[in-house]
Subunit: 213 residues, 2 copies
Amino acid sequence: MSTAEEPTSLTTADADRTVRGKSEGSPADGGEMGPETGREAIIRAARRAFTLKPYAEVTMRGIAAAAGVSPSLIVKRFGTKEALFNTVLDFRPAAAELFGAPPAELGRHLVLTMVDLRDRLRGDPLLRVVFSLGIEDERTLLRARFREQITDHLTDVLDGPDARLRAELIAGQLLGLGATLSLHRPDGATAGTTAERLADLYAPGIQHLVDGS
Amino acid sequence: MSTAEEPTSLTTADADRTVRGKSEGSPADGGEMGPETGREAIIRAARRAFTLKPYAEVTMRGIAAAAGVSPSLIVKRFGTKEALFNTVLDFRPAAAELFGAPPAELGRHLVLTMVDLRDRLRGDPLLRVVFSLGIEDERTLLRARFREQITDHLTDVLDGPDARLRAELIAGQLLGLGATLSLHRPDGATAGTTAERLADLYAPGIQHLVDGS
């Protein structure tokens, strides 16, 4: 393992696995006997490829090589490249959990849910969109997806004036929380404290934006 | 230009240029006649390479090719690879501006300075460290640099308990502000508002962490 940070960042948000359950990814899927199933290896390799490269440069063959499976297995299980992209880079499962609290409690709920999602997914549910800022890609699919599934969703949840502006800033605070938790692992102060303490400190700023006052 | 976001993200923080002034980068430096001087092209190419690749994979030859200059010009002007790294990836000029206000005013000052720095540098002064999370690099120099020059500096500025924890969270809010401004350009609500309005909304959360109450 080359770095402590990398796994948290790039094995982000295996939300698909959370929703579907691990049982679907059996060794028989990909012929692997290791701790990671073929399905998981494909999802991981695809997420990494789509995050770090322009969409046009991502190939099924490259993902297959990285995952240690055959290209035909990926096509059989996921369909086209675009279908694979849609499967592995979907922010909606994370959004459903993050935004599942009434506005009066949303600030604290967001911080606690972010920490919980990061633990369960062994990665950040949102941060991969920031990596994509480093990529020249005319389609910028990942950013469009984030805006639709996170920012627009959050805008709909908020009452009061400037809902979209406040939603963009709340999205920023969530990205910033993930960024600093990843940057300051494993020996940082944020890594050594409780989710409750993080919420005490970080949630008021978010709640200020939720309230819009 | 392939994307609207890319320039803001990766041409980040030409703090070196700000400090030394543009006059040093004349076309004669690199034999270029375009709007970007040889010195600027080298800095831009080096920053991009160090941000997107492991340190060990970055070569002077590759930077020279990307900048359209000869490798010997880079060595002459910047010295070794490590010296070049230290020149182009230095957060201290940004830190000096960001943290140059008394604690009681720091929240608002940080937001206004972030917006101002992004305008002047045509890029974000901090965000490149997040791109580096996607890279497997044993040295993780960029992250160490950020922790020393941003988080530690901020910790020293803060009074009261849990200064390091609060500093990490403030660093997160600054990274998050840059991330959301970059993500939601050019047509987002944050892109269409004033720095003062952004500060009204975003600074209270930062100030809460500065105050530590």
